[in-house]
Amino acid sequence: MTIVAIKILLVSISAGVLGSILGLGGGIIVTPALTLLFGVDIQHAIGASLISVIATSSGAAVAYIKDGITNIRVGMFLEIATTVGAITGALIAGLISPNLLYIIFGLLLLYSALAMLKKTKEELPEEVPLHNVAKTLKLQGEYYDKALKKNVSYNVDNVYSGFGVMYGAGIISGLLGIGSGSFKVMAMDVFMKLPLKVSSATSNFMMGVTGAASAGIYLYRGDISPIISAPVAIGVLIGATIGAKIMQRLKSKTIRKLFIPVLMYVAIQMMAQGLGVKL
């Protein structure tokens, strides 16, 4: 038992590192690792993955906020969209077949992966106009980039589209019980044109709230198993703390190169699920 717990712990540390660097919840690693390597049933794997999302978010946010990478205003404002979306998702979950939504959101992710491919040579977004609403909400910001060794000031564009995509991200979370970090990073990076590091850190920051919104339901259903979730939580907390240090020293270009294949993978998986194909 102890050996298994240590193995889950080690896998979770790597999930926390990757999740905190990319602004994803780590569920992308935790769910398949638990089901394929440890033979955990999908129900308890999803419960543990939700714990992983919340642990990555809080664990990484401690450092990201202290170092000024997270844009708290952007995060708080967009959380209106994700939380309303999450409730919408939970309400419609029983009413409609999610297949069409999977296909639509899968296509949206694929589109953003392609949009990101065009940006692979770009370290920071250039000449971004400041959207009127962004100005009213004081969303623009500044952070110190440890890889570039300089302060980076940035504007925020397309607030409405970003807000809309975040609402969609919320629906996905509500339907699936995940943090849907890939959508959050996409909304901020592709639509609102924030620097990638700010998008990733702010996505991380927001994900915990989205996850917590549905965690109660999963706990009550008994999907959060103490034996599986305990090593996942501890491992991910350790990993996220390490990842938050590593990310700041990476170039945005490098983070993007890691991000695109992950995005493609999630997009294809989502569309396959919508079409009823088992991968």
């Binding site: 038992m1 102890t2 717990a5 714990i51 919340i54 642990a55 978010s57 809080s58 664990g59 946010a61 401690v62 906020i65 202290k66 170092d67 000024g68 997270t70 708290i72 205003r73 708080m76 404002f77 959380e79 209106i80 939380t83 309303v84 999450a86 409730i87 939970a90 309400l91 909400l137 004081k138 500044e142 952070y143 110190y144 060794k149 300089k150 302060n151 915990g208 709230v209 996850g211 917590a212 919104a213 549905s214 965690a215 109660g216 339901i217 706990l219 009550y220 259903r221 008994g222 959060i224 198993s225 103490p226 034996i227 979730s229 305990a230 090593p231 939580a233 501890i234 907390l237």
Partner: protein, 127 residues
């Protein structure tokens, strides 16, 4: 121009503001507390091999979880720690609202409060 140079060579010029410091500290408190409780529960479980409940079962209601934790049942302690972990982001939203209030940033007091209310109402929708 010389100011620009200073910015580039002397590291971050932007000091974290009060909101950032408070939110970061409250998150660290939540993370350390929940992590410690989960770890204690896990070590107790691994050393005794007993979860404290019949078979592989464990409590799923908040009252039973905390009752189990106070009875020093390993699964009760682990789940209590996980509940604390889940509460950390919700607490963070509430604390942000209070810090924005202190800074008299009314727009963001409103935004944080709305998010907090949506989160709390989400629990009722879920039931």
């Amino acid at each position: 121009m010389s100011e620009m140079m200073n910015k580039d060579t002397q590291g971050p010029s932007k000091e974290p503001n009060e909101v950032e410091i408070f939110v970061s500290k409250s998150l660290r408190f939540g993370v350390l507390l929940s992590g410690a409780v989960i770890l204690i529960g896990l070590v107790l479980f691994l050393s005794s091999g007993e979860g404290g409940y019949p078979g592989d079962s464990y409590p799923t209601r908040l009252r039973d979880i905390f009752a189990g934790a106070f009875d020093r049942k390993p699964f009760g302690i682990i789940l209590a720690g996980l509940v604390l972990l889940i509460c950390t982001p919700i607490m963070r939203v509430g604390i942000s609202a209070l810090v924005f209030l202190k800074e008299k940033d009314w727009l963001y007091v409103g935004i944080s409060t709305v998010v907090f209310l949506i989160l709390v109402s989400g629990f009722f929708f879920g039931k």
